[in-house]
Symmetry: D2
Subunit: 363 residues, 4 copies
């Protein structure tokens, strides 16, 4: 197995699980050593149990792997990616952390817990400071790190750039979310053909809370949420991949349009994330055309890991409005969690894979 | 021709023109006596010149009508419906008004002129007072009355109900607009399949101005626009018919959720519009499901003449948020203009068809 | 309940069940007296248990009806419409027939049984002769009459017209089937957005057998299938309603294009179906445009009860090719079964509702 | 310019032209030296004149190129790719050939001329023998080589494999063609949303003739078309990219299903095409799942250059049926023409770039 780090994908047959499998198939640092699934699929080869939804073939080594129980992971694995449904993640993830696993979770179950990081490396890598508290408080040898909701990801990048420069007071967000965000089978074609569904259960509160947590201050063992209000209205639209969000933003400092554009255009992640294999060159991609970003044209930018922002203009109600786009199953789900795991490796959270070693893995 | 009023449809082969033809085919008061079109189609039978886009057949009498020049209307027609492109309407509509025609226009060319009503009978029937000034000032025997932009129509109904009850201060509107709003051929399928286009040329300023004019005060010869700000972000979505708008609204008076719901639910048009054949029973239809209105399910409500509002909830940024839906080519275009014409007839603007006579036309 | 015939809808919450509810809501002869559903929904009011998928509201009287068990129908009902899943219908429908119910079924479970009519009134009303044998053989006081597969319905109309005139030898059919044909939730939007699925489980054999049975000869207690071959290739396409079928047909007698066109254009159902409320004026609608029928434009023709045929042209491989369109959930499912029930009433199969009485129900 | 061959793209702003630009941007042998366009765009930088429709950015060097007139190509270019509309290609391509240019055309204008190759390297590389006759007969220093219609490409691969093994007698083809095949703006979203259009002007005769020419025998200066009949029925479907074709095929020799499968699975292009940079590893990709190929999942196979075939099964009307899929703007248009040009280079048709030199270009 050379130097690659063995990992498991939990809930590997679902839509997000498939993205994990696809992204990890040729990953320079990680190697899938186990895939788990529900009772229905346990014991079957992955290639038979999965309804593969992505273009291209099922990656060869995984195709033959037998699907395991989530509570019976091989002991040589430390790092696990969770694409579990939230109701399953609720108990399974703490159980795994208590047994020493490092859980990079895409599930919503534990995102808002005060001692669990809601992590995007470019946004709040310093929130990893919570991990010590989490372990100490819960007595866990392992820990849980979560990725935000896919639409929250689209929102938090421009918010971070503007918060740093001008301070945020109020944010109004209207989302147009792709059907892949609902997983498989998810949204019935009967419901969404030639239609929009202006509701996604539980989604609006997530958007209203998660960006405040991500932009909050990590203090002793908890996060002080960002001091701004977010109001969200969510919509499901007949688009396969790519969540588009219309944002209107109120700022604490006065800024003209040029200031805003510059703050967005010069957004720079912390140096600590340099060298992570899944990190995009431009995490926030500012577009200047009058009609971009568009989901189909821009969702794959930087391998689906960039958030594209455009149509920045003054707003007569709050201060500035703009639109933001994220590939919801790449940056907004599996890709984001893989990037989180890369940061954990780089910062030495994974045993025996200290920074010095991972450097040797880097090209 | 009995007692029916002969009318012309200008620009009858386009997408909105076809809706006029379809709506007027069995109208109880009006009868199509002339259809006009561009040079390309003049002289041909309507059934051959038109690329018919609506379900069902081309109405029989119109199918055989020869398409006329817009500037050579028969003299026995007084009332004309304009589905002309705006750049054509710019000159053609004043020319027609100066020759005595009463123009009910769906074009945007003259909507914002101070002495030209931007009319929705349920909202601002009193703005017809502008007509006398318009005629006097311009020396026209005829006049122009315009219908608002299709998305403005979705917005103005809930705004009217809330403005009357609580006063408006600020409105943020994010639209998801159907492809039929762009006419034919309009939006290319290559652009909109599996995609959203976050831009429609010239649309955002229309939304930001039109509802303020419609909710304004008609004073001597002009309109004092409503004293509130509107900020709009528009999107084209892969839906055939039906514009959905996410609204966030700031009010001048405090109101709890129940007050808001009641104001919307009890919205009542002025008595002056009673008996108009195209008037819906409920012009503003408040829905209480958590996931409605939806374009495909609700656009045809009340023959496509109702505006459906739902998901009313408090907003942490402004005061209340909700969504609103309009059938963009019925209430939001041809249907709205037909209703305007019905009001003109009822109020005696059409020669020899005073209210008493039209009453006899009513069932 | 005046003179209306009380009926039950079995499996009333599913996609076809909803169409039954919608069609029967204002039916001149029938009145819904009971709705049944799966264990999950039993005991709940219909309006709460159903995920209503059709435009418009749930019909008022049904909205409040409590969903019953399929095996506990009220005794005053004789006629039942089955929208049961086939695996449920397999046992439930015979059980009901054995207890005296007259079952008009849309399920596929019993379609190919030799003594059960696969009925389309315009095509093979004479197959009702099987009912006596069915009852005698099985000792049932009731009976089962089935409706064909939705795509079979599109095929059998032009085949019937051509078989009567020229005899059929071979038929090749390629279908493009709407998502509503798969019921709810049916086809996942993730699978069908920007895509075609060239497979529907179990569908091709149905198409290859059903039209031969429908065009067969009813002899003593069974049907001698039509003496021609059918080969089918089926596809699921991203269209909401309306199955389109490309047909290539080999004939036994020579015929020129004009003969073919005339045979299709003059197709006339038997007189025995005159006066049935759901019967379309033109059951087979021949279109002459070069690009019709199209699902969205033509599926609603004659209230969704006409089969539209077009693009008739010589075929260099078999004899003639053409396309055919059916509204799959109206004529191809619920509408077809309601028409079957109307024929049963007219022919006196429903107690106390002999032809003379139903005549008095007709307008 | 090192060793790369300078080429021009004619009609470079259209949908196929953009694919040429995209494919040639990083081509190992070719380098875009000129782009041409209609009068409307001449003189503008490509990046301003084009409405870019593909994901990702306009390739950098081309973005700044000024669009030229098609009849004023720089003299140092010999090889040109034509994405001209057919009516323009009709005169422009012969004119260019008469002036010494080697025209690889995607236009339909000259496909069926007896001395002009209709070329797919894997199918009929030997048809290049026509070029000598073409030049001699017409007195041209240059020549024209054409690529087939996109749907013809999907058909001819399985036909070639089966023709070689068993001989073809009859072929019935029903296509489901993506909207990108109609170019830009092409199909209006109003027409194709929730719909199928069962007609494409001029398409059916192309499908019925082109595969016969491609599978024909090149004899002295002309092609004897393949001795089999093709009947086609075409449909436009709401899919972005990827033409799917349902085929039913009659053979001259008896073959069982295993024979057929083996013939398809072992299809091997002639050795002469080895080493062409755009040649896929498997030109004909046989799939064994019951529901594949599907446009969205399989169109990108082998960089969009493989034709995927599946659902092979006996046919009760002809002998075997199957489905075939091609990426219509890659293999079926620009990609096919680029591959043709590569073959021309390899076979020494391009001055100074004899096989030996191109070998040095190969990796």
């Amino acid at each position: 197995m050379d130097q690659k780090i063995p990992v498991a994908v939990l809930g590997a047959t679902g839509a997000v699980g498939q993205r994990f499998v696809s992204l990890l198939a040729d990953h320079p640092w990680f190697e899938i050593a186990s895939v788990t699934g529900s009772e229905r699929s346990q014991g079957q080869p992955y290639g038979e149990a999965v309804k593969w939804l992505l273009p291209g073939e099922i990656p060869t080594p995984v195709r033959e792997m037998v699907i395991e129980r989530t509570d019976a992971l091989p002991s040589d694995i430390q790092l696990v990616f969770s694409a579990l449904p939230s109701r399953v993640a609720l108990e399974a993830e703490p159980e795994l952390a208590s047994r020493g696993y490092l859980v990079c979770s895409n599930a919503s179950a534990h995102r808002m817990e005060p001692d669990i990081p809601l992590l995007i490396p470019e946004i709040n890598a310093d929130h990893l400071a919570l991990i010590d508290h989490q372990r100490a408080q819960r007595g866990w040898p392992g820990f849980i790190v979560t990725s935000p909701n896919c639409a929250s990801t689209a929102i938090v990048f421009p918010l971070k750039a503007l918060d740093d420069a001008f301070g945020l007071s109020r944010v109004h967000a209207v989302t147009m979310q792709a059907v892949s965000g609902a997983g498989y089978p998810g949204v019935s074609s009967i419901e969404i053909t030639d239609n929009i569904i202006p509701f996604i259960p539980g989604e609006e509160p997530k958007l209203e809370q998660e960006s405040r947590k991500m932009l909050g201050e990590a203090s002793t063992g908890t996060i002080e949420p960002g001091d701004f209000q977010v109001s969200a209205q969510v919509n499901r639209v007949p688009v396969l991949d790519g969540h588009l969000v219309a944002l209107s933003i109120g700022l604490r400092k006065k800024a003209d349009l040029e200031d805003i554009t510059r703050a967005l255009d010069t957004f720079k992640p912390p140096d600590s994330i340099a060298g992570l294999p899944s990190a995009p060159e431009h995490a926030l991609l500012l577009r200047h055309e009058e009609d971009r970003p568009q989901p189909r044209l821009d969702r794959e930018a930087e391998n689906g890991m960039a958030v594209s922002v455009g149509r920045v203009q003054p707003c007569s109600v709050l201060d500035y409005k703009m639109i933001s786009l994220v590939h919801n199953t790449l940056r907004g789900a599996a890709g984001g969690a893989v990037l989180n795991a890369e940061l954990l490796v780089k910062q030495g959270f994974v045993d025996k894979y200290q920074e010095s070693e991972t450097r040797s893995l880097m090209p």
